[in-house]
C-alpha cells in the first residue's frame, strides 16, 4: 500500500518524506495540493515547510486547498494521517488535531537535534518503539510551541493523546530539553481516535547515521507496520472529483 505525501506551494520537506518512506520499504508518491481525489493510499503524510509562505498563520491558507476536504474524509474514515512540522500546523488549523502552535518561546526560528520520549507505543506512528524510548530527531521551526487551554490539555492527557514529549530520558522530560516552550513538553499529539498525529520535529531527517541519527526510522517503520496490519483493508476511496493522483 502506498503512502501519499501531500505538498503545497511552499512545502519543502516532501522529498525527504518520500525518501524516508522508501528507506523502510514503503512505496511513496507525491500528491500535489491541487488534486481533490485521494485514491489507493494506506496513509498520508502532510509534508513540512512553509506552505503559502507561512503567511497569515502557519498552515492556515493550506486549509483551503482543493486536497484538504479529501484529507479530512480520509482521516474520518480511519485513514492514517501524519503531519510533520508545517503538516502539524495544517492539521491544527484544520482542527483535525486539538490545540495550536504558537511562536517558540525564544521568538526565533530554531534548528537543532531534540530528544523526545515516546509516551505510548500503541499508536500507528510509534508501534516500533518502546514506551520511554528516547529518540534523537532534528527540529527546524519558528512556530512549534504547542498550546492548548487547560481543559483541553487535561482531556488530551486523560485520553492519552500525547504521543511524544521532549526529554532526555525515560523518566525525565522538559527543562533545558524543551526547545520551544511547548506546554507539558508536548512534541507529538494525536486526535482522539489516534489515527491522525502531528509531530513538530522531523523524523524524515533522522534516517541515516552519517546524517546524525537513524531514530526517525522507528516512526516510518511503525507506519509501515500499521499499514501492513491493515493489509487489504484498503483506505482507498473517491472524494469529490478531480485529476488522478500523481504529480
Amino acid at each position: 500500500m502506498r503512502v501519499g505525501v501531500v505538498y503545497f506551494p511552499g512545502s519543502n520537506c516532501e522529498q525527504d518524506a518520500v525518501y524516508a518512506c522508501r528507506q523502510v520499504g514503503l512505496e511513496a508518491e507525491y500528491v500535489w495540493h491541487k488534486q481533490s481525489l485521494i485514491e489507493g493510499f494506506g496513509a498520508l503524510i502532510l509534508a513540512g515547510g512553509f506552505s503559502y509562505g507561512d503567511h497569515l498563520r502557519c498552515g492556515a491558507i493550506a486549509c483551503s486547498s482543493p486536497i484538504m476536504p479529501a484529507v479530512e474524509r480520509f482521516a474520518a474514515d480511519g485513514g492514517l494521517v501524519l503531519g510533520i512540522c508545517n503538516g502539524f500546523q495544517i492539521l491544527a488549523e484544520m482542527d483535525m488535531i486539538p490545540g495550536t502552535l504558537l511562536a517558540n518561546n525564544g521568538l526565533k526560528f530554531r534548528c537543532q537535534d531534540t530528544l523526545m520520549r515516546v509516551e505510548r507505543n500503541d499508536s500507528p506512528f510509534t508501534n516500533a518503539c518502546e514506551v520511554g524510548q528516547v529518540l534523537r530527531i532534528n527540529m527546524a521551526h519558528y512556530e512549534g510551541n504547542y498550546f492548548a487551554e487547560p481543559e483541553t490539555l487535561q482531556r488530551l492527557e486523560a485520553n492519552g493523546q500525547v504521543v511524544m514529549r521532549f526529554g532526555p530520558a525515560a523518566d525525565e522530560s522538559g527543562g533545558e530539553f524543551n526547545p520551544n516552550g511547548s506546554i507539558a513538553d508536548i512534541a507529538a499529539i494525536s486526535n482522539e481516535a489516534g489515527n491522525v498525529m502531528g509531530l513538530m520535529p522531523h523524523p524524515e531527517r533522522a534516517m541515516q547515521s552519517a546524517l546524525g541519527s537513524t531514530d526517525g526510522r522507528l516512526v516510518f517503520e511503525s507506519l509501515r507496520r500499521a499499514i501492513d496490519a491493515r493489509d487489504g483493508d484498503s483506505q482507498a476511496f473517491v472524494a469529490l472529483e478531480g485529476k488522478p493522483a500523481g504529480v
Binding site: L56, R57, S64, D95, T100, L102, N104, N105, E149, G181
Partner: protein, 82 residues
C-alpha cells in the same frame, strides 16, 4: 470601498511575542506598560459601495480565513482607516 478586519488573540491565549515586546519596552525605560498584546489588522479594499454588503463580506472572510476562532477573535470596520 475600504474596510478593516482586526484580529486579536483570545485573552486566555498566551502571546509570547507581546510578552517579549513588552519586556523590550521595559528595558528601554517604558516602565509603565502594564501589558502589551500584538494583533493583526487587514486593510481591505472591496469592489462594492454598499457598506452593509462590505460588512457582510468582511465578516465572512474573517470567519472563514482571517481569524482562527480557536485562538483568535475579530472585529470588522467599514469605512475609512482605523
Amino acid at each position: 470601498m475600504k474596510g478593516q478586519v482586526v484580529v486579536r488573540l483570545r485573552e486566555e491565549v498566551l502571546d509570547p511575542q507581546g510578552v517579549t515586546i513588552g519586556k523590550a519596552l521595559a528595558n528601554l525605560g517604558y516602565d509603565n506598560v502594564a501589558s502589551l498584546r500584538q494583533g493583526k489588522i487587514f486593510d481591505v479594499e472591496l469592489a462594492t459601495d454598499d457598506p452593509q454588503e462590505a460588512e457582510r463580506q468582511l465578516t465572512a472572510m474573517a470567519k472563514q480565513l482571517l481569524a482562527n476562532p480557536v485562538i483568535e477573535t475579530f472585529e470588522v470596520h467599514v469605512g475609512s482607516k482605523v
